[in-house]
């Protein structure tokens, strides 16, 4: 369970003005959720994901994962937190000089590992994402959808409890988007991985999320089960995102 409590983040911009990117955000992600965080660009979505992924620290507030404040983690605990989450980026971030196989293997090589065991695991993951036949291919020969599948397989290598997805389908066409979303859903259902997915496309939320948080200029304006948020549409942005009366 992830409890986000009064989370705020400020940046200094180049003219030394304070920029408040996130303002007093509180929400709870239960185990097994597929939680969508939606908003226009500049709403603070990516910052929020970076904070949960411990790539940045908040100005105030806290993030408790299974009761532990992640910003207080140090040394080994911090590394093991990193290993308990997988991250999927919009730009795939694959190692272009390494084969598909070695890309998925990469997270496992960062700590002591058993080679045969790791190889078996990589093969299983490639099977899962449907790229077993591409193990020895290099990323530059793959399509965007295939690259994202490699990235998803890689994110699962350390058996994470939580998968963070930063606009995973924004660079993909609608058909490929659908297949990637189906894959994420399958991972959530069969492996019990909690997923937080950042997006600006309401279609993503409607397709796979059970809960959604709507961000507008750093403020959490709507939050809860997708159906509830959709029915109430308290905030203008929510109405805009979910479209007219359906």
């Amino acid at each position: 369970m992830i409890e986000i409590k009064s989370l705020s983040k400020q940046f200094m911009n180049h003219e030394d003005h304070q920029l408040e990117v996130l303002k007093d955000i509180s929400l709870t992600v239960e185990d097994g959720d597929i939680y969508g965080i939606i908003g226009m660009s500049g709403a603070g979505k990516s910052t929020m994901l970076r904070l949960i992924g411990l790539l940045d620290s908040p100005t105030s507030g806290e993030i408790l994962v299974d009761g532990k404040n992640i910003n207080e983690l140090t040394g080994k605990d911090k590394i093991s937190y990193y290993k308990s989450i997988g991250t999927v980026f919009q730009g795939y971030n694959l190692l272009m000089q390494k084969t598909v196989f070695d890309n998925v293997m990469f997270p496992l090589t960062l700590s002591k590992y058993d080679k045969a065991e790791a190889q078996a695991k990589v093969n299983k993951l490639l099977e899962l994402v449907g790229l077993a036949d591409k193990a020895n291919a290099y990323p530059c020969t793959l399509s965007g959808g295939q690259r994202q599948r490699v990235a998803i397989a890689r994110a699962l290598a350390n058996d994470p409890e939580l998968l963070l997805c930063d606009e995973p389908t924004s660079a993909l066409d609608s058909l490929t988007t659908r297949s990637i979303l189906e894959l994420l859903q399958q991972i959530n259902r069969t492996m019990g991985v909690t997923i937080i997915i950042i997006t600006h496309e309401i279609g993503v939320v409607k397709t796979i999320c059970n809960k959604v948080a709507v961000l507008d200029q750093g403020v959490l304006v709507d939050n809860g089960p997708v159906q509830e948020v959709k029915n109430h549409r308290e905030h203008e942005i929510t109405r805009e995102l979910f479209g007219g009366n359906e």
Partner: protein
């Protein structure tokens, strides 16, 4: 006529080509021994990089810039006392290596830094989010991913160092530069100078072709 020319100068040209290759090879090698870590350090201490440290970054930048702003022929002269301290003499190809390495290292460092900077920062974030340490990010992500670019940089560094070795000839370093200056400038035997130029052109071409082949072979990101 050709036969006569080579009978007179052949052995010397061959020997001095060897000296040029010796200085280039070891100058590049030690230039990288010094310049590669320096470049990585400079990259890593930059703002927003792996281990930001404004003062270290500034000092490294200063050292690199100061060394690079001294023309190589003057750097060589200025380093004579230091060279004598290190090798025990200031004349000859081995002695020339000292200023060559000191002249090449900051140049190499900048090339390395610029190669590493080609990597998108989100890839570094990605590695960090998998629990990679800074050392692992450098050794397992940055260096392997930029290898083709680093090798391309090395071809530029090597060819620049060939140019430096020619200057080393002017103060007794030996090599093809020495031959060209002695015969062409001091004795007015221009034919010898032109032959050394020809040899240098061929050397540069061969080196560039070899590097191109290596890059083509190792680069897996050919889009």
């Amino acid at each position: 006529m050709m036969g006569e020319f080579f009978a007179n100068y052949g052995m010397e040209l061959l020997r001095e080509t060897g000296a040029t290759l010796f200085m280039t090879l070891f100058g590049t090698l030690f230039g990288y021994v010094l310049g590669l870590p320096l470049g990585i350090w400079c990259y890593a201490t930059d703002e927003g990089s792996l281990a930001p440290n404004k003062s270290v970054h500034a000092v490294l930048g200063w050292i690199i810039n100061i060394t690079r702003s001294i023309p190589f022929i003057i750097l060589m002269l200025a380093l004579i006392p230091f060279t004598r301290m290190v090798v025990g003499k200031a004349i000859g190809s081995t002695a020339a290596l000292v200023p060559l390495v000191i002249g090449a290292a900051p140049f190499v460092a900048r090339m390395v830094e610029s190669s590493l900077s080609e990597i998108d920062h989100s890839l570094v974030d990605c590695a960090k989010s998998m629990g990679a340490t800074n050392f692992q990010i450098v050794s397992k992500v940055l260096l392997p991913e930029t290898l083709p670019s680093l090798i391309r940089g090395m071809s530029i560094a090597t060819i620049t160092i060939i140019g430096y070795t020619a200057m080393a000839g002017a103060i007794g370093g030996g090599g093809l530069g020495d031959v060209a200056i002695r015969y062409g400038y001091h004795r007015g035997e221009f034919d010898v100078m032109y032959v050394t130029i020809l040899i240098l052109i061929v050397l540069v071409q061969v080196i560039q072709v070899i590097f191109n082949i290596i890059v083509r072979k190792i680069d897996k990101n050919k889009s």
